[in-house]
């Protein structure tokens, strides 16, 4: 058997490292042929998703190389690159990927020998590590998904669309983007404009918020329709406009295919009591992965996780945490990446079954929804009771007293689509809120099943309109006079914070309001 030859992707800055590689060539300095250089104008041009994509595509190692600090042709692009590689490394390390596989190095033009040596060293080290497991598990399936448009029309009842546009009248996206209409999407598919339909960026604008189903007279399951058509689009390599460059989606795909043991519980301290024998699982979700990515928003979604654990501990529950649970697959499913979704679902159901879990508690509505509705639909059955943390706590409140401090604040509550319209849970979060003495709950104009989505879903097509939607919702929240906007979806929080981070709002309406997760609010109030 031939010796393993690692493949290395080098992102080389045009002015230093690429030139250094040229010098290595001019001087005939030999190095192993394992490297493939991609020329970029500046290392600051290398996005996190390019690095993760290289890993996903089977590269054994990635090197981002640029000018020495102070030498950047663009003043500080190399320093930006450094920050980004550090961020990616945090994530890949959490995924369990060896840190040798993602590197950053400054190589100046004259340093042809250093370039060659760097490559030699890297090849040696990677040889020791062995091939990247993503070489094998790389997604190569180009085969068309089994469902075709006609089936989708029938399955989701979209065929029975009456073209009445009631969906459009309630669709929050259509409200802000007048060129958007669920009905039109269906019509284009029905007309057989397959190519246009799957390429239509509007297809990726749907939030899957299920507002349309409130009004649809023929029960068309539009979000499901969109989900399926997106799967077709995904097969045709159409992804809409993924936010954050698609890095989060890429990480999900890596996670789905990864045989590595994750290092995802690094945040867990002794403060929180967990048990390996419990038959109650607390599903941590993506929070550990979100935090490095959303650092720029000064946001820590792990606060939610910790708060939930604190509440559970307070109620005498010491849940099990699975060190190797994976993403629920929600975003993969909703962006059409069915394969990734199925891999994740298979993994999660297997490890949960093996752990003998009887009950799973979620603090993320997306995970809850996906486990509850999508897993069974795709044939991943779990014999567990599933509960949102608010349901669990509300259920306990009858038997057990929650000792809560007074918290004299006026708050309003954002119903996350996944928890509200998808699962019909409106009461338990409110019960929980009102259990805190002193809390005054002021409802927004649109609440419960009519609640407005936070504006973005599955980190795709985060555009001008989704921003306006967020602004609109925040204004509604402000209009209640509340000091805090409470939600129980980490993504709602991310999206709201992002909207408030906008410089653009300086001249716009005042939308600044404290956004807080329900669990955090309750945990803080615990005595």
């Amino acid at each position: 058997m031939a010796e393993f030859e690692p493949r290395i992707i080098v992102f080389a800055c045009n002015w230093c490292t690429y030139a250094a590689a040229d010098i290595a060539g001019t001087n005939r300095i030999q190095y192993p042929p394992n490297v493939r250089i991609i020329r970029v104008m500046c290392s600051g041009m290398v996005a996190p998703e390019h690095i993760s994509l290289a890993l996903e595509s089977g590269a054994d190692g990635v090197l981002v190389a640029g000018c020495h600090p102070g030498d950047c042709h663009y003043i500080s692009g190399n320093l930006k690159a450094e920050e980004r590689v550090q961020m990616v490394s945090k994530v890949t390390n959490m995924l369990g990927i060896e840190e040798e596989r993602v590197r950053l190095k400054w190589i100046a033009t004259s340093e042809g020998t250093i370039f060659a040596q760097t490559i030699r060293d890297m090849v040696e080290e990677l040889k020791k590590l062995g091939p990247s497991p993503f070489r094998e598990s790389r997604q190569v399936s180009q085969e068309k998904p089994a469902l075709d448009l006609e089936d989708i029309l029938q399955e989701t009842k979209a065929y029975y669309c009456l073209e009445c546009s009631k969906c459009t009248s309630i669709c929050p996206v259509a409200k802000y983007d007048s060129s958007c209409s669920p009905r039109s999407v269906i019509e284009d598919v029905a007309l057989g404009l397959e190519r246009e339909s799957t390429r239509d960026k509007k297809l990726f604008s749907c939030l899957g918020c299920y507002a349309c189903s409130l009004r649809c007279p023929t029960d068309v399951d539009f979000p499901a329709f969109v989900q399926r058509v997106r799967a077709l689009a995904f097969g045709a390599d159409e992804h809409g406009c993924p936010a954050h460059g698609g890095f989060l989606h890429s990480v999900t795909r890596l996670m789905a295919r990864s045989p590595y043991k994750q290092k995802r519980l690094g945040w867990l301290t002794k403060e929180y009591r967990v048990s390996d024998n419990s038959d109650i699982l607390y599903f941590v979700g993506c929070a550990p992965y979100f935090d490095p990515v959303f650092q720029y928003l000064e946001l820590r979604t792990l606060d939610i996780t910790e708060a939930s654990l604190k509440i559970l501990n307070h109620l005498g529950v010491e849940p099990m945490l699975l060190p190797d649970e994976k993403c629920c697959g929600h975003d993969a499913l909703w962006t059409g990446d069915t394969e990734t979704f199925q891999r994740l679902a298979e993994h999660n159901t297997r490890v949960i079954r093996e752990a003998g879990i009887k009950k799973i508690i979620f603090s993320c509505p997306e995970g809850y929804r996906t486990f509850k509705l999508d897993y069974p639909k795709y044939g991943f059955k779990l014999d567990c009771e599933l509960q949102h943390i608010s349901e669990f706590v509300a259920g306990k409140m009858g038997e057990q007293e929650l000792k809560l401090k007074e918290f004299r604040k006026k708050v309003t509550y954002q119903d996350p689509c996944r928890l509200g319209r998808h699962l019909g849970i409106y009461d338990s979060p409110r019960q929980l809120l009102q259990a805190i003495p002193g809390i005054e709950l002021a409802e927004m104009e649109k609440n419960r099943e009519y609640a407005l989505c936070c504006g973005t879903s599955a980190f795709t097509n985060c555009d001008l309109y989704s921003h306006e939607m967020r602004v609109g919702r925040l204004q509604e929240a402000k209009a209640t006079g509340a000091e805090i906007l409470v939600t129980d979806c980490p993504k709602c929080q991310i999206h709201f914070r992002c909207a408030m981070n906008n410089k653009g709002e300086e001249k716009g309406p005042d939308i600044n309001i404290e956004v807080m997760d329900l669990a955090k609010l309750v945990a803080d109030a615990l005595e």
């Binding site: 030859e5 493949r7 992707i9 690429y18 030139a19 590689a21 040229d22 290595a24 060539g25 001019t26 300095i29 030999q30 190095y31 192993p32 042929p33 493939r36 250089i37 991609i38 020329r39 970029v40 104008m41 500046c42 600051g44 041009m45 290398v46 996005a47 390019h50 994509l53 290289a54 996903e56 595509s57 089977g58 590269a59 663009y74 003043i75 500080s76 692009g77 930006k80 980004r84 060659a116 070489r135 790389r138 406009c241 936010a243 954050h244 460059g245 720029y296 985060c462 555009d463 001008l464 309109y465 921003h467 992002c498 909207a499 906008n502 410089k503 653009g504 300086e506 001249k507 716009g508």
Partner: protein, 662 residues
């Protein structure tokens, strides 16, 4: 179909340079099998004329709309092949080069491996070239006028070079006269020429030059626009003297009763409230210092002597500050430096002891035209018997400035020479290292050493008047460690001359902001490249001259000034500036106007503006360099870099990362 991609692939043998390690025939055959490739050829030297003709003919005859050449580094021949494409009517940006020489044939010996890698590189290039979009290089006409800010030697040189080249120059000087620090100097090292003698002809040339519009006693208030087309607002401060009428006769100075310390004389002499700063001032007109003019301060009730005696009738108390708007194509900043105030370093006693003075004060003292008519004297009028010159006052000092101020060693030697020559005083040079690196500098050091100056290598710990020996009584004692001898020395002297650090102008930060340029950690203005482009700021069209970039001696300042002028001439004479084609652009439907791009852009090219009722990012095409830092930071993907879009880079990654079949 308009959108159909037709790619031509050309494999260069580069003699045996490539063909020796890469099987070019097989590579060409392989390339022909790739999607969208309509023709694939190999040729001995693609960069030769016949090689280029292959491409041109195929574009015309086969209707190619994309071209890939696999040859040497694009840093070598990208431009060659782009031009070839262009001459055949294809947009030059629809071209991609695969580097199979420097990155393949030259660094790998195994032909099989080399061929395999070359295939990958060609495949990636073919896939990527399909994503290329035609780009246009925009030419923006350049306003041929230049603004020079600062009328010291660097600014004067720059202005003169440009003006002599036949271009209009606006020279803005904040003081009433140009001349800067150099006109304050007595002599210049190492030649000991008289500074005034070499400076005044230049100043006068500026004053009379038909192409130079001198705006003295003026300050830049606002700068907008970009290279080729800056708009500058200059505030011309009220002199209360009509520059057109004043003949510089100086009668007003004689009649004005209100005396204040002269800035030009470093406070060693006095001037009156209406003054011409020094005899050779350009423009040679009086200026009224409104803070000290009693007429102004009393609201016109008192004094008014100057009005009475001015025969030219030039006094005009109704003058107000004027804003002058200029349009220029290039800007040269020659704002100079300040000296560190040595009173910040209390142990040296400046400000406490009368006879601790700065080197610049000493310059005025030795100058024949100075307040003491060139007499070196102590405060009480005595002639000093001995003097210590302390180097590195605040320079090379972690507590103050880490850098070396470059010129102090040399002027300290000059001062030592004058002390020896004029009054035969004992001179002690207290230095850390002697740095005499210029032309004739070391020789000057030798000469001064030979004149009996005592050199003590050691950093001065303290200057004190507390005598511990009789000998020290009535003297200033310089306490230092002589590091060569390794012992503490106490040197009693009559006079201590401090060589303070050269520091950025107090308003350097403000100026940097106004001109959208950057400062270094030291506070001096940042050049684009320390070695290759020391006269160019990060902002296109704004150049640096003289000590605003870093400490310099006169010859360096002069060269720097001329270099800046040459850089400005390059733009002016070309008549237009070409914008980068591969720059950032904003997808309007995706942009939220979050402003992350604006914060991250070093070139201030991205800006969030209010447009159609919403905040949206825009890219100033003249400023953007296409580095892509903003595109990566953009959360929604609204920002992208042409020619290096996410799709293009992802395509490359997807083409190169997988190892196909082992």
């Amino acid at each position: 179909m308009e959108n159909e991609k037709k790619v031509g692939v050309y494999i260069c043998h580069c003699g045996l340079n490539i063909a020796g390690t890469v099987d070019v025939a097989e590579l060409a055959k392989y390339a022909a099998t790739l999607p969208n490739v309509v023709i694939s050829r190999d040729y001995r030297y693609m960069c030769s004329d016949p090689g280029q003709d292959l491409i041109k003919n195929d574009i015309k005859e086969l209707g190619l709309n994309r071209v890939v050449v696999a040859s040497c580094s694009p840093r070598m021949h990208e431009l060659t092949f782009r031009k070839a494409c262009q001459s055949a009517g294809l947009n030059p940006y629809l071209y991609e080069q695969a580097n199979i020489r420097e990155h393949c044939s030259w660094v790998h010996a195994d032909k099989k491996q080399g061929t395999k890698k070359a295939k990958d590189l060609v495949r990636a290039a073919v896939q990527r070239v399909c994503y290329h979009e035609p780009l246009e290089v925009k030419e923006i006409p350049v306003n041929p006028n230049t603004l020079v800010v600062g009328g010291g030697i660097a600014g004067i040189e720059a202005a003169l070079k440009l003006a002599n080249g036949g271009h209009k120059v606006y020279l803005v000087e904040k003081e009433p006269s140009i001349g800067g620090h150099m006109i304050q100097l007595d002599t210049t090292f190492p030649t000991l020429d008289c500074s005034e003698c070499i400076m005044t002809p230049k100043m006068s040339e500026v004053g009379h030059h038909p192409n130079i519009e001198l705006l003295a006693y003026s300050e830049v208030e606002e700068v907008s626009g970009s290279v080729g087309n800056f708009k500058v607002k200059v505030k011309k401060k009220a002199r209360y003297v009509d520059e057109g009428k004043c003949i510089g006769c100086g009668i007003c100075e004689q009649k004005c009763p209100w005396k204040v310390p002269s800035e030009f004389e470093m406070g060693l002499g006095k001037r009156v409230a209406i003054y011409i700063p020094f005899a050779q001032a350009i423009p040679n007109v009086a200026t009224i210092d409104k803070d000290h003019c009693v007429y102004i301060q009393s609201g016109g009730k008192k004094c008014g002597a100057c009005i009475k005696f001015c025969e030219a009738g030039a006094i005009d108390f109704d003058q107000t500050d004027q804003i002058i708007e200029l349009e220029v194509g290039a800007i040269i900043l020659a704002t100079g430096y300040d000296l560190l105030d040595p009173s910040q370093i209390p142990q040296y006693g400046y400000g406490r002891y009368d006879n601790v003075i700065t080197a610049l004060e000493f310059e005025r003292m030795t100058c024949a035209a100075g307040p003491s008519s060139g007499k070196i004297q102590l405060k009480d009028g005595r002639v000093p018997q001995s003097a210590a010159i302390i180097h590195c006052v605040g320079s090379r000092d972690k507590n103050y400035r880490e850098y070396c101020s470059k010129i102090c060693c040399m002027y300290a030697l000059k001062h030592a020479h004058h002390l020896r020559e004029k009054i035969n005083a004992d001179v002690y040079e207290m230095y850390i290292d002697m740095r005499c690196t210029g032309d004739g500098y070391e020789e000057f050091y030798e000469r001064v050493s030979a004149e009996g100056v005592v050199f003590i290598k050691g950093k001065v710990a303290e200057v004190t008047d507390r005598a511990i020996t009789e000998e020290e009584k009535g003297k200033l004692v310089v306490v230092a460690e002589d590091t060569l001898l390794g012992r503490l020395v106490r040197i009693p002297v009559d006079m201590v001359i401090l060589c303070p650090a050269m520091i950025p102008r107090a308003d350097a930060g403000e100026v940097a902001r106004m001109f959208s340029i950057t400062q270094k950690a030291t506070g001096f203005f940042l050049e684009r490249h320390a070695k290759l482009e020391p006269q160019v700021s990060a902002m296109d069209g704004i150049f640096l001259a003289g000590c605003c970039q870093c400490p310099k001696d006169i010859p360096d300042s002069v060269s720097h000034g001329r270099a800046a002028a040459a850089a400005a001439l390059e733009i002016i004479d070309r008549g237009s500036v070409v914008t980068e084609a591969a720059i950032a652009c904003v997808d309007k439907t995706l942009c939220h106007g979050c402003g992350i791009c604006e914060d991250i852009c070093e070139f201030r090219a991205a800006k969030v503006i209010l447009k159609g009722g919403r905040m949206i990012s825009t890219v100033n095409e003249a400023l953007c360099k296409g580095c892509g830092v903003c595109a990566v930071a953009c959360p929604s993907g609204a920002m992208s870099i042409k020619h290096f879009t996410r799709d293009e880079l992802s395509t490359m990654v997807k083409a190169l990362a997988p190892v196909e079949n082992g």
